[in-house]
């Protein structure tokens, strides 16, 4: 066990969390970190969290089976668990977007769009670096840089569902 590697990851997560709180404070119109929702939004988001929870549990069960069986795969174990978490996040975001409850009352979609673009850029840089240096795979397995690819998949899913929703709403208005 590499205690320094674990401590580094924990510190990284903590710093990320602090930055996220600061970004939310800047991006929200009332400069509060917490997003506010009305009663309909809370009700639908409750359902979204439920489906996200079921998705994460189902994915984690699959990962557990893979680990118990010692199935050879191309990914480090932590990537499989991270993928489970992201699968839940994708379900939560897509369900919320589709039911018009993604943006809270104090969210500024324009500011959040800028944040999305910055996050996308921050995730692309390590991927390009890893591809160029050939470190996307280490010891025959996809490692840390693949985490950025997974985040990109999540962001792409969110972008795609926003686009589909926008087209669907446009058609409904025409009708």
């Amino acid at each position: 066990m590499n205690i320094f590697k674990s401590a580094g990851a924990a510190v990284g997560l903590l710093v990320g969390l602090i930055i996220a709180v600061i970004i939310f404070k800047v991006a929200n119109t009332n400069h509060k970190a917490q997003t506010e929702y009305d009663e309909r939004q809370k009700e639908i988001r409750g359902r979204a969290y439920m489906y996200a929870f079921y998705t994460t549990v189902a994915c984690e069960c699959v990962m557990m089976i893979i680990e118990i069986g010692g199935v050879n795969n191309l990914f480090e174990n932590y990537l499989l668990h991270f993928a489970s978490l992201l699968a839940g996040c994708i379900v939560l975001c897509c369900y919320s977007i589709w039911h018009d409850v993604y943006w809270g009352l104090n969210n500024d979609p324009r500011r959040y769009s800028i944040i999305f673009i910055i996050v996308t850029a921050l995730n692309i840089i390590p991927i390009i670096g890893a591809v160029k240096s050939g470190t996307l795979m280490e010891n025959g397995k996809f490692g840390l840089p693949f985490m950025n690819i997974l985040v990109m998949i999540m962001l792409a899913s969110i972008g795609l569902i926003f686009l589909i929703k926008h087209i669907a709403d446009g058609r409904r208005e025409e009708e």
Partner: protein
Amino acid sequence: MKNLRLKSARAAKDLSQDDLAKICGVSRQTISAIEKGDYNPTIRLCIAICKALDKTLDELFWES
């Protein structure tokens, strides 16, 4: 069932869905969902809407 009385009361006050939503402290989509009959608001929100439109609960929400 669509709530046409709410829609006409809002139009009579010359308010958009967005305006009414801001007065009541909810999202525009929530007002739209109530007008379309897709969402049953709580009594608290019904009262807020009635106060914003100077109407009674009976006038806007009671189905005769």
